[in-house]
Symmetry: D3
């Protein structure tokens, strides 16, 4: 099977990270994975949600949205509909959960970091791209926070990135674009840490149930893709990269 | 680790299925898995949602809700809040998707089967219990439909059941109750077919990322548990069981 | 006129009360009146709504809902519609008002008891059945509360039950089922106390206005039916029954 | 007990009806009962709601609202809250039901009459005043309709008016104002026809259950009050009055 | 062009102000401009909205609504739709902003005055009529407040009135009624103070852009009309009129 | 007064237009005016809203939204709040109205063009910048449409751009940034055509009413600014520019 742009089955689309593209946000990144483009901003608020109050711990949460014309045909705005779709809720719960798996909430102090992922253009993999970008925005914001408040432990414990994999026809593919995704029998989103552990594995065979072998093959593709993505995150984060997972204080840089 | 009621790590809670407990619904079952109790009804409507019209195919969808006092403390009704929570949406999307994986929508004809899963009492695993019960209610309703309309192919292609597994401390456990679930580092819901294939694998390590070995161990536990559950489904369905996946016409019984 | 199951005009359907069917709720009862089945749970919260704060008094309120397939055809969930129907609001206001008429709010202390009435199956009279069941769940919860907090006066001042009556054709009927209700020219719901006083009388002649004589006949039927229902409540409540309306402290049992 | 303005227990407040106060509505009346003031307009639409389509019958419905400063302290608008209160729903359902009891829906043809009752100032009895006024607006609109379409049978079958009665202290009172209403132990709204039959009887003893004797006394007071109100309706309606319940064609006038 | 009632292009419709028509509100006026009729009530609350707390200043805000049958055909209630239309929001923001331009919020103290403008009948110019009436209701309420709390400075700094102007065909018209408004190429609402300054100028040429000359002509018409309206406001306000803009204490009268 | 970046009072911020930045939309432009950045996309749909059906005419409408972190502090999403703010509604109504003033709806045919204006970063003037960008996106989409359907008359009749002006201290300023806007006594948004006519003039003196002289000065500043902006629009549109207002067929290019 020949993929668009002559990609091989185990080849990701080019990924580009542009940081600090918003003059107000504590952290921001514009992430492009092929034609999927997401703007991620991190906002730090000096308070926590009611259910977290008084525990001396912080919170990390995420919101996700697509611009109405991010897709082939225009989608109605959720603000005009008056409510979020199930898909949006599912995705933003996933992003928040994934980010919290690499945050030391104690070290963060009673603060909330809100990551907004707004999809400017969608061509498959918007949720995984959002997670990969959100991590970078989070790291930049937490680094500023860490310096400003002189935190004794840097609150980010590991890297985090995500990719989709799937079965199209008989082939296992890494990083599906929209066209591939819409033909996939099996679709799986995988989130992993820099250490190579799984944070989320969400595989769905609505069109056709899948075997243990297929599952194993998909996990291997994802693992390889995420490894490469984390290398790019390290490069763009530069000196901040050294603090992640170090357990050291967040000073310097 | 000693589990409640001296269960072993790989031991399920007792499961009880009581069918035809609603005098109006086309199919109904009351499923009890330990202290988790769910009422599942199947409603057949002779129409399909707008996005499916004119394709000569049917649709299967699900709704999920918890009674306000299904839990330790009372939850506000979603009808009073004016909207569904993200958790509810996520669960009902999952149930619907899982059921559709074992339905031949073509064979169903332009009809919708709506499965309502109402949790009467919750003690962990409400979404997996809902799926296991929903399948039985669906099978009963589809069997009636199949006889009434003399369908040439029985529309259910395979069995379907679901269980949760997780890591508590260092142990891998099958079928977590509420108390175990709230202590779990890793939590995974698995949906499988009678043929032993995966329909959904949703593993989350919010508290702590998990290794490939842990993932493998959890999948094995789930596989064993689901195998047992499907045997119970077959027993309760009696003669309907023979039609499932047979590709034969739905007559008889 | 011959009624279903050969009932006479002044004959109620069989009523069955099963208590303590929920392991979390402070009080619970499953009430069946013919094929109408309602699950009532009572929840005690150690706070009162804002408009009652600081008065040293408690509050009793109720919520009512029907499962989507409690009826012949499936009803859309109110949570999916995003709002309660007028019918639901009317019914839950009625239940709450009725229960408060036999509660000494002062004796209750600054606490709220919320009664949830969820209709599992509907065959006429769901609102009156809910009231009759709600009273039992309330009594059980208040008894626990009374013992736990050693209340000096038992807060329930009298029994409470409810039944529907109506005019079908020329006949006055007690306890209408769905089929009768849909043919009734006059429909009346009556709530009464153990002492035989009226708490609510709601008679409607949308199809045809009714005379004073008809009104009198209906009230007599209701009075008789409620008298019988209260005897059943007393039996199921056992030793709690003695405390109701005694004005004594709630200790013992 | 001495009532405001030296009213006796069985004495109504002065009632004033001013018709045709809206230049667009098919029927309109401004009704004042003491300091309670309600603007009622009737709108005729040449269609029926979906559930009535194709039956060759019409529909009558009502909406009720209070201006924010109709009361001692300002109430938030329901449009700003985003939903109707239970009280509003209950009242508008009551008004619609009551009006339909004196309408021949067949004779109306496939049309809807919507009565809007907007409370300009509230001093007790807004729902009963709304019904009394709504009937007049309805009669005017139906008369116009009847002439315009040359209906063969005048669709209004009888008069309709409503009043509140209650028990304050030991006394039975007719037509309670706000102050009396807030002290009442028993509160009852009665709707009757010109022929003296009951359309709605809604009695509530939230503060204190009431006896059969009290119920009888209240019904007598209501009967007398409504009798007087209907005489005033007849006077203001003039020639239209003759057609009501005549079963004759609606021509003339 | 001959206008209805033989009005000239620069002639306003007759305006009538009736004050104190609500027995509860701190200030109230019924304003009629031709067939446009608006009920304005002013409510004083001894608190300010959250965003104004602790600044020692007050707030003035407005709400606007049309009765469903204020217009030729009936409009659905915004309470039934569950949300305000954009038009309503725009108008009530405009009214509030305009009123605040002539209020000394410091002198008002930490209080809110809410002006409710409810359109009883609409024949063009409902927003401008609302502003002109709202000012009078505000002045009456502020005068009472000023006397009650012995304010050292009277908080209203100038008069305020508003009128619409427009271009119909080639003619510039003052105070458009509904029919003229629906034919207008250019539509402008102007709000001015007693001193002759502009508070709001909102001109729209959706049908056809307009020239600087047309703009100038319209402003002149508006200026003249508002001048006349303010004279009527002064007359109806009587002794209160002397305090407006005087900077004196609000005592006396 | 010295403005940021040494701007003079009558000097605009640099404006940059980047076209075709969305691969799906029929027309798109990224407009930057100083630090205010708006993404405008135009979507063509082959249908019109219900109120326009069957008239042989098209429709143009707009939606406006700000990303949550477009501003100094994060704003809650309107989708999460469940409704649009009054400010958003006001702005999107303004944009739609302004665009329609330069469209020949007849020539467009029964089609809708929806312009989405999403503010990526806000530094004052987001509504005026949206209009200026929306016009360019509209022109590109209409040009494609015109070629594809071979329209006999090019539907855009004139250019359209918008700028804000205001009074800060004693000075009249063109194109206010956020800081200036928050200090302005008078704030005016002006929309004009290529021919130099006014489409919208919205001036507000909430802080302080303004004189006729000030109004005149502000209009002159706006006129000059818009003249310059339209020149930039012409340049970026290239050959499309020639068709605008030509009344010629839309072929070629």
């Amino acid at each position: 099977m020949i993929r668009q742009n002559e990609r091989l089955g185990n080849q990701r689309r080019p990924m580009k990270l542009t940081v600090d593209i918003n003059k107000y946000a504590e952290g921001s990144v514009y992430i492009e994975v092929g034609d999927t483009k997401v703007l991620c901003t991190a906002t730090v608020e000096e308070k926590v949600p009611p259910f977290m109050k008084g525990q001396g711990k912080g919170w990390v949460t995420a919101e996700y949205s697509m611009l109405p014309r991010a897709t082939h045909t225009r989608n109605q705005r959720e603000s005009a509909r008056g409510k979020l779709t199930g898909r949006t809720m599912e995705i933003q719960r996933l992003i928040g959960r994934a980010l919290r798996s690499v945050i030391n909430l104690q070290a963060l102090g009673e603060r909330t970091v809100i990551i907004d992922c707004d999809v400017i253009q969608a061509d498959g993999g918007t949720r995984t791209t959002s997670i990969t970008g959100a991590f970078v925005a989070l790291a930049i914001a937490v680094n500023k926070l860490s310096q400003k408040h002189n935190l004794s432990v840097f609150p980010i414990t590991d890297y985090l990135a995500s990719v989709s994999v799937g079965v199209v026809g008989e082939e296992l593919l890494l990083d599906l674009n929209y066209e591939e995704d819409s033909k996939a029998k099996v679709d799986m989103n995988v989130v992993m840490t820099g250490e190579g552990k799984f944070v989320e594995v969400q595989g769905t065979g609505e069109e056709s149930p899948f075997s243990r072998d297929e599952l194993n093959g998909l996990l291997e593709l994802a693992q390889q893709g995420i490894h490469e993505m984390i290398a790019q995150q390290q490069e763009i984060l530069g000196p901040i990269a050294l603090k992640i997972g170090s357990g050291q204080s967040g000073q310097g840089v």
